[in-house]
Structures are given as C-alpha cells and as structure tokens.
C-alpha cells in the first residue's frame, strides 16, 4: 500500500517569525518596468533590416490542397520570400504522441485559419497584400463540426492517427468495484452537463521575432510560456542541433495556457530568418489568436454518483465527450484531466472514468487555466448541490462531511499532501453569512457554493525523461550581486518575483539585489514552462536548493573568518552574522569575496524533480502532483425572474495556499482567477457557426474579435472577499502551494448553484446566460423539469477499462488487466441504443 512520500530534502527553512521577505506584501521585482512601459514584449522588439511576416490561412474548414501558386506573391514589390508547406514539412506537436502539426500545411487543411503559406516582406501591409496574390487550389472535404458528427463520420479522417475514424483518443479506467459501489448506495444520481469552450484572450497577441545571430546561430524572441518545448520543436522541424538555437521567452502579456504550444508562426519566422539572413517579425492579429486557440475543450459530461443517506459517496461513474478541434495539442492529457481530479476533493471510494476526445474541423483545443479539470468540476459541484437538496443536507455541510483530508491517497492513486478544504468551507460559510442566506433570500436573489482542487505542477513532464523539471543557477559577484538563471517564464503570474523572493529570503537580501535572467534557453537551465501551476513549487524549490547550497558555501567561508561554527551564522539585512553575537559580522559582499577566495569562483545550482507518483497504471501520468491546492467559493447572484438577466454582486473565496509567498501577488491571482471564472460562467463562448449545409460548407468562428468574444469589463466585476488558509505544505518552498488556477474552478458551479437558489432553475451548462435562464423559467412555469441543459450523452464504443484496485482494495497502483491496445473494431457492430437519460 503506497504511503504519501516523505517531503523532498529541500525543506522550507523558515521559522515563521524569522521571515523577512516571504509572506510580506511587496512590490514585485518586475513592477517598475511594467508601470513605466519598459517591459520588452515580443512585438516591442525591432531590429535593423527587420522584415515582416503574414500567414495565409485556410478559408475552408476541411480540404486537401491540390496546388499552390506563389509566383505572383513572390514577384510583388517589397516581398522578400514566400514559404509553403513543402519548405517545412516535418511534423511537430507538444505531445510526443500527437506530432500532428506542420508549420504550414502541406496538403491537408483542417480548420478555418490553418496556415498554408507565409509572405515575408519589407512592410507588414505589403506582406498582407501579398497574401491575396497566392492562389491555392483546394479540394473540399466533409466538414466535421462537433463530436457527435465526428463519431458518426469516420471518413474523411481529419488525421491519419488516433483510435479510429475521427476519434482521437478513448480512455477507460476503473478503480474498484464500481457496480458494487452503486449497489450499496441509498440513492443514485445521474446528470448530464455541458461546458462550452472558451479561449484565453490574453491582451497581448502572439508575436515573435527571429534572427540569425552575428555568429550564425538562430535566436527567436517569442511570447511563449514554454520556451523549452518550443526549443525542441524548432530543432526537430528545422533539423538543427538544439545547441544552435536560442529561444527567449519574452514576458508574456498574459498566457493562461494559450501560449504553451509550439506555434506555426514561430517556426515560420525562424525558417525565414535563416533563409533571408535578416530578422523576421510576426505579430498575429486578434482574429489569428482565435485560430491558434488551444483553449478550453467543450466537454459533454455524464455523472452517475451513488450516495448514502448521510451524503457519503459510494461510487462515481463519469463519462466525458470532448471536442478536440483540429489537432492533438495537449489533448490526450486534457482527456485524462477530464477525469483525474474528481477524487481529490471528496472521498470517492470507487470510481470509473471514460473519456473520449474527437477531432473536429475547428481551431485546436488545449490547456486553458485549469486544463480539463474545470469542466468536470462544474458537473461534480452542481450535482453535489442536487444531491444535497434531495438528501436535505446543507450543501456546505454535505461537503464538510465528505471532504478529503491531509496525507491520503485517492482511489486513483494521487497522493494528497496538505488538504484544508474543510477549513476553506468553514471560512466562507462564516464570511458570506451563508447560514442566513441559503434558501432564505427573497425571490430573484440567491447564493451558491462550490469547491475545487488543483494541481501544484504536473507530476510528469510532457516528454518522458528522468531529468529535473526545473533548474536554477546562481552566480555571485564580488560586488555583492546575485544573478539567477532559470528557464521559468514570466507570464504575469509573478514567477520572477517568486524566484527572487526565495533567494532573497535564504541569503538575507532584498529582491532588488537579485538580477534575473529567465525564460532564455541559452542562459538558464531547463524549466519545463509556465503551465499546470508548476513554477512556484518546481522552480521555487530549485531556487531554494541553489540558495541553500550557496548559503552553505558562504557560511563555511565566513565561519572561518569570524571564528564561529557555520550553523550559528544568520543571513539577514545583507549581512552574515553570528546569531549569538550579531555585531560579529561581515557584509554579504564580503562573504562572497571570502568564499571566492576560499573555493574559487562561486556558483551554485539547484534542481527539482517531483516525487514519484503512485499512479503506475497507463494514464496515471496525468493528475499526480506533489500537492494540491483547495478552494471554496460562495457566489451571490441577482436574477430577474422575467428576463433572466443575471448580475453577480459579491463573491467570497477561500484558498488553501500553503503559504502566500507574496500576499499582494496572491490576491491578484485569486481575484484574476475569479474574474476569469466569472467570464466563463456568464459570457465567454468559443462558438462556431455552421452555415446552412445546402448553401455552404463553411464552419467559422462566430466572432473572432475581442469585442464580440465577451470578457468582463471593469463595470462587470463584483466585490470579491478573499481569505487565505495557510498551513505550510512540506512539498512547497516555504510551504507554498499554487494559486494561479485553483481559484477559478469553483466560480462557475457556484454561479449555477446560486441561480437555482435565486429562481429555482438549474442551468446545467456553461455559460449561464439570460436566454437559458429564461427558457428554464418557462419550463418551470409549464410544469416541466425546471432546467436547461443537455439530456443526451451519445453512444461511444468505450474500450475495456483498465482495472486498478484502489489502495483500500489492496491495489498497488498498477492495473490488474494490462489489456493490450484495443483491436480494430469488427466491420459489423451490434447496434446499441444511444443512452437517453432523463434529466
């Protein structure tokens, strides 16, 4: 039986009272640059002789390219170069199992916006005009617009790989005897939910500048969250040694997961720069950002949950049908994520998960804040509300009864470290006045509660390897300065500040004393990237280790000078001193010089690899994390019972963060997550329009603009009351857990639950809009189920589930039926009725 692992050697070293940097609200290290407009984003970079690139994109959702004639474009005055798919045929992709993208489509376009050619010219306007001179002869193929259509339309295949037809991936996992679990239940609940796709909408559009260095190597500055993965993709596609490629992730003007894939435009400008031997820049228009997408997968979910009268869960069976869009992206991981974290909040003793991702002819989906766990969290939390109502238990009390606690292992073998979910619930119940409001507010006003959990860093890397997930190098100069090198990328979340604050704390410095070089593959050790909330724990722990090692060296040298044992030395206020006799001290600068004299040039490294996961079964690589954060939220809404108009005046949220390294930044992440959750709850929709089939094959993004894709303005933001629960987690540097994603998850289900409290209708879908509320109210008035949402989960040919007995059934994390990969289906299938579920 697996035990929670011991915490890694690099423990947090702070005694609470001693911390001078950690835990204090501080100006972040990059604040001054940002408020003076001096932060250099990718599009701010301008180099001599720089050319401009525009991409020609497919106007068709699905087609073969018969031929491309670039001659007129190439001859257009001011055009330097035109590239097509044959110039960059090698496939790439973020996941090793789905290397299915080409920088420019060679012969198959899969969504409106898929790039097919590139024009590089003296001015951007000229490049734009050149696009129209390229003649592409397309052969239209059947458009596949949603997963049900994908299931029913095995050919033409959008990709030549995948499970079969246009099914990208099906997974099935079973933890424990689920049927028995249902048999033991007093009540069984079955609900279908739909979560619409949404996109990241960072204010900064993607931009890249590539150049051939003076010495002939390739350098690319680009707005990316994952310079290391881009680095690998460039080496592969350009057929160059990675050592001759430098990727510099410029500070991102927002990422949220939308800049975590290697992109077509990055590879194209790199190639163009090499061919032309001059810098090449591209900056995507807002519409093109919608075509890059990699946003939240639309997911249809079916939850079947067995409960006892006291609210404890006996079994859960979750099915998800996922709209992947045109490419793999992180989709296989996303598929597993739609089932992974259901067991981390409330005790689920037996669990069956089936997930199916299909390809469709739309921009590809990928990771957006919360990556695949957001959708099922919505379903789980709304269903819990329905369960609570039926069992006549207060929803907060129900959750308190069944909440997981610290140091457990879940049915699917994820190790939980600190779990303070219950405390989060208690806090917001108190601060929101829950007991006085739930089911007690006047008609049209309501209050709803929901919880969530999220990973603090994905436990496994994107490509299998045994190397650290993050590394930090520290350089010390005789002037007393410290320079930190790390591949971690600043996307606004404060990763630079996290790194600086950890080093400053350990070495007794100000964060201002530390220079940071981050996100540069030439300068810093590999950090896998800013995704899955991994930076604080992984780069942070690496920084902690490097700083502790430096502290050791410096202490040893200083100890000799001041004549005390190294253990008695303290580092604070830019001095190193004897804790028993503080006047016996040297400056930090002197300490460095002493150490350099003693040891030679000083430099230290630190690295971090997450603890080994207990989830050994195939698919268990998605979901494990060194630790999980927990969040509870209460949302108050006002709903107009005539029009369905919904406003949200107040939100209370409590987040189990372990330790807030910088409370100012932490608050910003929580409020920013709440804001983004609210946007998804009420108005964000990555929606597509299929023109009447008789008239057109078109499948277009309904409104790829920042005007029509609705995100909340300053006028739409409610009051937010934030509380932190801080029990330092041994896995995190100074006990810190994540905060950049977790607080988003409970918002959407809390809104749905609040709407039910306000006007008695269930919106089992996101976004929750006035139109849907009004329709549900009409249903209620007509005496039908007071609900709006899906009621049908289509038939999917699920593979045989991998059976993994949970810990309490003697499991060891392995599947007992390591079933071979599902064989191709027989030509004749026995007809099975679609599952029609009553709502």
């Amino acid at each position: 039986m697996p035990q929670p692992t011991d915490p890694p050697e690099t423990k947090s070293n702070g005694n609470e009272g001693d911390l001078r940097v950690i835990g204090r609200p501080r100006r972040r290290v990059d604040a001054r640059a940002k408020v003076t407009g001096q932060t250099r984003f990718a599009d701010d970079i301008s180099l001599p002789r720089m050319a401009h690139c525009k991409l020609l994109r497919s106007p068709h959702p699905h087609a073969r390219i018969r031929s491309i004639d670039i001659s007129r474009a190439a001859a257009y005055p001011g055009v330097y170069l035109v590239l097509t798919g044959k110039d960059l045929p090698i496939e790439y992709g973020i996941l090793p199992v789905s290397q299915d993208e080409q920088a420019l489509c060679l012969d198959h376009v899969r969504h409106v916006g898929d790039p097919v050619a590139a024009v590089i010219a003296r001015e951007e306007l000229i490049a734009f005009e050149g696009l129209d001179l390229i003649q592409v002869d397309y052969e239209l193929l059947t458009t596949i617009s949603d997963p049900e259509e994908a299931l029913a339309t095995p050919t033409p295949r959008i990709h030549d790989y995948g499970d079969e037809g246009n099914i990208h991936k099906r997974v099935a996992l079973e933890f424990g005897n689920v049927d028995q679990g249902f048999a033991e239940a007093d009540e069984i609940f079955e609900d279908t939910f739909f979560y619409q796709g949404s996109t990241h909408l960072p204010i900064e559009q993607h931009a890249s500048v590539a150049t051939k260095d003076p010495d002939g190597k390739l350098t690319i500055w680009t707005s990316t969250q994952t310079p290391h993965y881009l680095h690998r993709a460039l080496a592969k596609v350009l057929e160059m040694p990675p050592a001759h490629i430098r990727v510099i992730a410029t500070p991102n003007g927002g990422g949220f997961g939308g800049k975590s894939d290697p992109f077509n435009h990055e590879i194209v400008v790199a190639k163009a720069a090499l061919l032309l031997d001059r810098p090449v820049k591209i900056c995507l228009t807002r519409e093109e950002v919608f075509y890059c997408h990699r946003g939240r997968h639309p997911v249809l979910m079916n939850f079947k949950t067995g409960v006892k009268k006291d609210g404890s869960l006996t079994a859960m069976h979750l099915q998800t049908l996922i709209d992947g869009g045109a490419y793999g992206s992180y989709g296989v991981a996303s598929t597993f994520y739609t089932g992974a974290l259901q067991t981390t909040t409330y005790h689920v003793p037996r669990y069956r998960f089936q997930g199916c991702r299909t390809f469709t002819n739309k921009p590809p989906c990928g990771p957006k804040r919360g990556h695949g766990t957001v959708q099922p969290r919505f379903g789980q939390e709304v269903q819990l509300d329905k369960i609570a109502e039926k069992l006549q238990i207060d929803p907060a009390d129900l959750r308190l009864r069944i909440a997981e606690s610290s140091n457990r292992v879940t049915a699917n073998f994820f190790r939980l470290s600190t779990v303070n979910l219950a405390e989060c619930i208690r806090r917001i119940v108190k601060s929101s006045g829950w007991r006085d409001k739930f089911r007690k507010l006047p008609e049209g006003r309501g209050i709803g509660l929901a919880c969530s959990a999220y990973l603090t860093g994905a436990g496994l890397p994107i490509y299998w390897n045994k190397m650290p997930h993050s590394g930090v190098q520290l350089k010390f100069d005789r002037g007393g300065g410290v320079t930190l090198f790390c591949g971690a990328t600043e996307i606004g979340q404060g990763s630079d500040d996290v790194l600086a604050s950890i080093v400053a704390e350990v070495l007794g410095l100000d964060t201002f004393d530390i220079r940071l070089y981050t996100g540069d593959t030439d300068l810093g050790p590999v950090d896998l990237g800013s995704y899955s909330s991994r930076v604080t724990i992984m780069a942070g722990n690496a920084a902690l280790q490097a700083a502790e090692r430096a502290k050791s060296l410096l202490a040893e040298a200083v100890a000799e000078r001041v004549g005390v044992p190294p253990e008695r030395l303290r580092f604070a206020g830019k001095r190193v001193f004897d804790s028993a006799a503080p006047e016996n001290s040297v400056t930090f600068q002197e300490a460095v010089c002493l150490a350099e004299a003693r040891f030679g040039t000083i430099g230290t490294v630190g690295s971090y690899t997450p603890p080994k996961s207990a989830a050994l079964y195939k698919g268990g690589g998605v979901g494990p994390s060194p630790t999980y954060s927990y969040t509870a939220a209460v949302v108050e809404v006002a709903v107009n019972p005539v029009t369905g108009w919904i406003t949200v005046p107040k939100i209370w949220i409590a987040h189990d963060i372990g330790r807030a390294l910088n409370p100012t930044l932490v608050r910003g992440q929580i409020e920013g997550s709440v804001y983004m959750g609210l946007g998804e709850a009420l108005m964000e929709e990555q929606e597509f329009r299929r023109l009447p089939k008789k008239l057109s094959h078109a499948l277009v993004h309904k409104f790829p603009s920042i005007l029509e894709y609705k995100s909340p303005t300053s006028l739409d933001m409610p009051e937010v009351f934030t509380e932190l629960v801080e029990e330092p987690d041994p896995q995190g540097p100074f006990g810190a857990k994540e905060v950049g994603q977790g607080p988003l998850l409970p918002i959407m289900p809390a809104v749905a639950n609040a709407v039910y409290d306000a006007v008695g209708v269930r919106i089992d879908e996101v976004p929750i809009t006035p139109e849907k509320i009004m329709k549900a109210l009409a249903e209620k008035k007509a005496g039908r189920a007071p609900r709006f949402g899906p009621s049908h989960f289509p038939h999917v040919d699920w593979p045989e589930a991998l059976r993994v007995p949970p810990p309490w059934e003697g499991g060891d994390g392995n599947a007992i039926n390591d079933a071979p990969r599902r064989a191709k289906p027989a030509p004749q299938r026995t007809p099975e009725k679609d599952k029609v579920l009553s709502s």
């Binding site: 604040a31 000229i126 909408l201 990422g255 995100s711 006028l715």
Partner: protein, 170 residues
C-alpha cells in the same frame, strides 16, 4: 480587394508635442498614431491588443483626454499634445499612479498597464477625488485579463491620497 499599386513611397511629416517635447517625425501616411509612436518614434510603451478599438490597450492622452491611438490617423495629430506612459513621470520620479500600481499589485502581466495608467491620470487631472464608481467608469474602456480590476481600483485610490497629501504639504 488588392491594392493594385505597391505601397507608395510617399511619406508624411508630423509635428506635435509628445510627452511635453516638440517632436517631428516622418511616417507612412496610412499609419495610425499607435503605429507611428511604436514604429517611427520607438515609444513602445503604448501597446495594442486588437487595433480595432475594442480593448483599450492603445490608450494615450490627446490634449489631455484619453483616446485610442489605434483609431487615430497620425495625420490628424498635427500640433496636438500627446501623452504616453513614457511621459508620466517627471523630474526623474515616477508618477504617484505608477508607484501605487507597482506597490499594490495593479500590474500583473503589465500589458494593459500603460493604457490604464494614462487613462487614470486623465481622470485624476479632471477629478482629483473620484469615487470607486467613477474610477470604474473611467476605466470601463480598458480590458484587463489578469487582475480582475480590483487591485487597479485600489491603486488609483491610493494614488489619490498620495497626490492629495503631497499637494497639502506643497
């Protein structure tokens, strides 16, 4: 749809006041003020998120009023007074708004920040003691995807107090 002739070699000339200094610049006449600022004058502090007037990231002050530089022809700016984020500070010091934004977490990724700063400055120049609602409304044309706006409002309010106390002691 294609313009038949290649981009003209014509350039236009503009003389205007940029951040308090008389500035002369040559530029391609089809350019907006945003493009001229960023590309011909190297003032990259002003950003762009859409170029269509739908996000507010390109805001600058024109004769003291917040406007969208992506929707202004540079040709229309002759003789006018433009303030960008680069011109917010004075005498080598940051503007109290900049200090407050830096201290109170009002800038996360920092991309929308220049536009919000100049917009807030225009508000405070016109109304030194705005209510929260007035701050909200003044910034209703600036989208932010990171902060959720609340720390931005607080930073503006902190700057109000700082400016007021500075004026008192002056």
């Amino acid at each position: 749809m294609v313009t038949i002739s290649p981009a003209s070699q014509r350039t236009a000339q503009l003389r205007f006041t940029l951040n308090g200094e008389q500035t002369d610049v040559s530029f391609a006449p089809y350019k907006t003020l945003l493009e001229v600022l960023r590309e011909d004058l190297n003032h990259t502090g002003t950003k762009h998120g859409c170029e269509l007037g739908e996000c507010g990231a390109c805001a600058v002050l024109l004769d003291g009023k917040p406007v969208l530089s992506c929707l202004l022809l540079a040709l229309e700016c002759s003789g006018r007074d433009v303030l960008t984020v680069e011109g917010l500070g004075s005498d080598g010091q940051l503007h109290p708004l900049q200090e407050a934004f830096a201290d109170l977490g009002a800038a996360q990724c920092g991309y929308c920040t220049p536009a919000i700063l100049v917009t807030a400055k225009a508000l405070l120049d016109q109304n030194p003691h705005p209510t929260r609602d007035q701050i909200r409304e003044a910034l209703s044309g600036n989208l932010c995807r990171c902060t959720g706006y609340l720390q931005i409002f607080e930073a503006v309010e902190a700057a109000v107090l700082e400016i007021a106390s500075h004026n008192k002691s002056a």
